[in-house]
């Protein structure tokens, strides 16, 4: 029988395949690689979004969570807009984009400007700090928006600490459930490209407008080949 070394599998995936074995356990090098990646991810959770360095001007608002620890322990506060910030928002209607730090600011910091560009629409943008996805409902409702797109930092993993998600909610208002949203995740270099993410977002938005709803009622059955369109 011909035996092929397992490391040939590494060409096909960024997952930790073909690590070898020490008995039934991980070899030392693979074990320490993991520890290093975990340390980087832990540090990324505590990274902060710097609105001044995003490369575009937008109003900055905060949730009711006062700091990172409170944000982690009290997601309810991360979903609520500070009263003084609500008063500062103007009623724009239309689609609103909320650029939010979420659980890791690194990816939003580096990708927000380019991803907004890829979306290619002239939608008003708000930057939100210590924000959960549902904070977008509160913001967009205050702005009288028909839909909100929340561009938010995703929970950092070991391989990627720069993933961004896009959450679409039609007719946003406080109290919308997660089943009423559509999510496009893993947007990052090496993950879903900005062009693919933008194409899908527009496709979902057209569907939501036609249906008058987003979420599980709006089936994502966009044909795969359309994703390659510019």
């Amino acid at each position: 029988m011909t035996l092929v070394p397992t490391h040939s599998l590494r060409r096909f995936t960024s997952a930790r395949v073909a690590l070898g074995r020490a008995g039934t356990s991980l070899p030392t090098a693979a074990h320490l690689d993991f520890q290093e990646a975990h340390a980087a991810a832990r540090d990324a959770v505590w990274s902060a979004l710097d609105p001044a360095a995003l490369g575009f001007d937008a109003p900055v608002v905060r949730s009711e969570a006062r700091d990172r620890r409170e944000y982690l322990l009290r997601p309810d506060l991360g979903r609520r807009l500070r009263a003084e910030d609500r008063a500062r928002l103007s009623r724009t209607g239309g689609v609103v984009v909320v650029v939010a730090d979420g659980l890791c600011a690194t990816g939003v910091q580096s990708q927000a400007a380019a991803l907004l560009c890829a979306l290619g629409a002239d939608w008003p943008v708000v930057v939100a700090l210590q924000a959960r996805v549902a904070l977008g409902d509160d913001i967009a409702h205050a702005m009288g928006a028909e839909a909100v797109v929340v561009m938010i930092g995703e929970r950092p993993g070991l391989s990627a600490q720069d993933s961004v998600g896009l959450y679409l909610t039609w007719a946003p208002r406080p109290g919308r459930s997660d089943a009423e949203r559509n999510c496009i995740s893993n947007i990052r270099p090496g993950g879903l490209s900005h062009a693919d993410a933008a194409a899908k977002l527009h496709w979902l938005l057209r569907g939501a407008r036609a249906l008058g709803a987003s979420g599980v009622a709006l089936k994502d059955d966009m044909p795969a080949q359309n994703r390659l369109a510019p």
Binding site: M1, T2, L3, V4, P5, T6, S8, L9, R11, F12, T13, S14, A15, R16, V17, A18, L19, R21, G23, T24, S25, L26, A30, F34, Q35, H38, A41, R42, V45, L72, L73, P75, D76, E154, R155, P156, G157, L158, S159, A160, S163, S177, D178, A179, C183, I184, S185, N186, G190, G191, L192, K200, G215, V216, K219, D220, D221, M222, P223, A224
Partner: protein
């Protein structure tokens, strides 16, 4: 009805059953977030003492969420079997704990349908980890589709080959890596990056091709929403198991976009395909403490009691597999390794006691205060407790879901430490294919055979 208990000269009053259960729960951040946790250690012990004195019969008369308001409560109450309950009907919660610890294994299956989820949750709250392990180790639940899961002396593994972009070759490479390390007998189950029907069908077709090419006695699943699975089945995708996340209240299930009727429809559709060869358990459910609070549908009930109620939903559909994704939800519900470990053992205990083929995703996220050491401790406890299956993720790092679960290596280690084997049909297949040390790929498993060249 209110409950009173004195501890160290202070009298504590608990206004109803759901309050008593919540205050008796070992501390976790999610109950504090919901505002239902005990305010002190003394209050918690007072609640535990009052709970221990409560007759099990009381649970048949007081629901934690009103019958009229919640279809999970209706499922629990209407499905209670008084004959199965008879052997334990005279016991208090404390007496039930003693009874369970002393019972021979064969005494447990006959009472399953007499135990409500709230009774299981209640008794777990006055148990230590070793009690949870001891009783769970006596529970045996066997299910079948293309192999036999849950036999004594076995530990199965879900091969979880997720890819950030659902790239078929990336998934296939992780599948092959896992198979070579003995994983995949519970299911080869991919979480899709998006809920796109076309994408889901592509993955289902690919997984089915790998399975048939290598003639693997196992089942595959793409863990999409149940409505997407229904569409995929309608369009002819090769679907073995139907997956769905579920919770312990009508409200949380609505937030997941599911109803009992929808789950029943999906089960019928999967059964109609008749793809199982040794059995017809076609459902796969995931659960996890905190989901109801996350969906603002918890009714002031503690998260562990609600988790046990999710198992009532699961057992109505004869699943092949059920697992709690215990550490996935995050630190606002389970703050650290200690809270995750206890919750994992509670979930496994309650699921097994209620008769489910219970696995656990031994896992954590990077914003929780936990690390690999915490997971090792939980994994070994669960393996001793006879957990039905665990996850197998390449190097413990899920590159799509961005969390850490157990690796293929962890599965091998747990099996080796405790002398466990995979499901028998799968163990025979591993032998037949010449899969051994895992450093090299046998010819009949050549990557080119599944499009990797």
């Amino acid at each position: 009805m209110a409950f009173r208990q004195s501890v160290a000269g202070t009298q504590y009053v608990f206004e109803d059953l759901r309050t008593l259960l919540a205050r008796a729960t070992p501390f976790r951040s999610g109950d504090a977030l919901a505002g239902v946790a005990a305010q002190s250690g003394a209050e918690r012990v007072a609640a535990q003492r009052a709970l221990a004195d409560l007759p099990l019969k009381h649970f048949l008369h007081e629901a934690v969420i009103p019958y009229e308001a919640d279809d999970v409560t209706r499922l629990i109450m209407d499905g209670h079997d008084p004959n199965a309950f008879a052997p334990i009907a005279h016991l208090t919660v404390g007496g039930f704990r003693d009874w369970l610890l002393a019972a021979p294994p064969e005494a447990l299956p006959p009472i399953r349908r007499g135990i409500t989820p709230e009774m299981a949750a209640a008794v777990s709250k006055i148990m230590r980890l070793s009690d949870l392990v001891t009783v769970a180790a006596k529970c045996r639940v066997v299910t079948r589709f293309r192999n036999t899961i849950g036999l004594p002396g076995t530990l199965s593994i879900r091969l979880q080959p997720n890819d950030p972009t659902d790239d078929a070759r990336g998934v296939a490479a992780a599948v092959l890596d896992g198979l070579l390390l003995g994983a995949g007998d519970a299911v080869i189950g991919v979480n899709p990056a998006t809920d796109n029907v076309t994408q889901v069908m592509t993955l289902l077709t690919m997984l089915d091709e790998v399975r048939t090419r290598f003639d693997i006695p196992t089942q595959s699943c793409v863990l999409c929403h149940v409505t997407t699975a229904l569409l995929a089945m309608e369009r002819g995708a090769p679907t073995d198991l139907v997956f769905q996340s579920i919770g312990g209240t009508q409200g949380v299930n609505e937030s997941f976009g599911v109803t009992m009727a929808l789950l029943a429809e999906a089960q019928s559709a999967a059964l109609a395909l008749q793809r199982g060869t040794v059995g017809q358990n076609v459902m796969y459910f995931e659960t996890g403490q905190g989901s109801a609070l996350s969906a603002n549908a918890h009714h002031g009930v503690d998260q562990q009691t609600l988790e046990a109620r999710a198992y009532a939903v699961a057992r109505a559909f004869d699943p092949l597999l059920v697992n709690s994704v215990v550490g996935f939800i995050g630190p606002e519900y389970l703050f650290d390794g200690k809270q995750i470990a206890r919750a994992g053992l509670e979930d496994h205990f309650c699921g097994k006691l209620l008769g489910l083929p219970m696995g656990v995703d031994v896992c954590y996220t990077n914003h929780a205060e936990a690390d690999q050491d915490d997971m090792d401790a939980l994994l070994i406890n669960l393996a001793v407790a006879g957990v039905t299956y665990i996850m197998g993720v390449p190097g413990a790092d899920d590159v799509m879901l961005a969390y850490q679960s157990t690796s293929f290596h962890d599965g091998l280690t747990a099996r080796a430490l405790l002398g466990k084997t995979p499901a028998p049909e799968f163990a025979a297949w591993l032998e037949r294919m010449g899969i051994g040390e895992g450093a090299r790929i046998p010819e009949r498993m050549a990557p080119a055979l599944i499009g990797l060249s």
